[in-house]
Symmetry: C2
Subunit: 247 residues, 2 copies
Amino acid sequence: MTRWRLIIEYDGGPFMGWQRQDHGPSVQQTLEEALQQMTGEQAPVHAAGRTDAGVHALAMSAHVDVSREMTPRRLREGLNALVRPQPISVLEIEPVADDWHARFSCTGRRYLYRILNRRAPAALDRGRVWHIPVDLDVKAMREGAAMLVGRHDFTTFRSAQCQSDSPVKTLDVLEVERSGEEIHLRSEARSFLHHQVRSMVGCLAMVGRGQWAPQDIGKALLARDRAALGFNAPPDGLYFAGASYPE
Amino acid sequence: MTRWRLIIEYDGGPFMGWQRQDHGPSVQQTLEEALQQMTGEQAPVHAAGRTDAGVHALAMSAHVDVSREMTPRRLREGLNALVRPQPISVLEIEPVADDWHARFSCTGRRYLYRILNRRAPAALDRGRVWHIPVDLDVKAMREGAAMLVGRHDFTTFRSAQCQSDSPVKTLDVLEVERSGEEIHLRSEARSFLHHQVRSMVGCLAMVGRGQWAPQDIGKALLARDRAALGFNAPPDGLYFAGASYPE
């Protein structure tokens, strides 16, 4: 048996999310079925993060155990051929220790959120960005973002379905940058609550529009109440950007 | 009557190309039908370049005459609402002189070609890049590209369907640059022959793979014979990037 680590890119558009669902296609099911076709084995593929419907990945980390002996290249190319035409691509694959776990060994998760900030809607990036047609105040958004960095009770920014034991998380990074016609929000933490990134981005967009002052972010955080949330940003602009592990 | 200049972004994937076709959807037809819905007028939309099936535009220039009085904002937003769900977006719109012509007044056309140069296929950019899994030699490609810059008879790089009066064109720019996992080829000329960019990129990819020496590009050019062509790059990676006009 070999435990393989996979790094996977996917377009979340056609999927119900990472995790297997009864009611529609998922990234996990697509990969597991491709593996079964190749190896005859039924093995679960575990990921560092379970992205929601419509959320993308630039570099999702995952692992799977395979009994059949194979070279990494054969496994990667076989999977990439078999997942077609689904928009999933196995970027890298390497053997890891048997106790390495994509989710439980993970010590850091990074997300990118892309806002297209111009008058005209997206044509080429439709479904891959959140289109906000009014000019956003990036400086104000940055001030608001700074209030979220650190160890806080993020109850306000947590979905009703969140399964985390505690609402207390440490947000290490929350950067807001203009890049041409886009605004990029990069966040980093050991772990996130369900919908945390989209909730934070939704509120920061209200700051950017001038509907909230930057300090309103701090007030919403202190309220520790989901009702204090502005709103959730749509999944389209969200990308799982990478996972970190101890050496 | 007002003549409007439009700058348009589109994903060429679902279209038979820019130009109206009997056998499938086109960008031109989609825009003309949206205009007719808004204004009740049937007016042709003329573009700086007629992109082929599957070729995209970052900023296509076009014009159309409209009798009904409208503000630029109303026209742009109306068109963008009516072309949905097609991946077309009118980025800018402005009134121009009655004798301004998107095609005939154009003094420069720019194209971008994107090659995804990594082992794994594209997931997020499927249909938007040409995937070449073997490492390309960018330096050699640049040497080959330099042989195409200038005034030449480009018969070798011209499709059988090309309607240009002369195969002699002046290629002002042909740059090859690595950008992360991608290789970008930027070309610029007053005008191009049909399939010229894709033919040049196809041959330069052969140089990048080491199947051709850089000098073979010069030999192919001198042959002035379509049979000397390596092959055409696919439409997926090609973007009409912009058109220039006199002040």
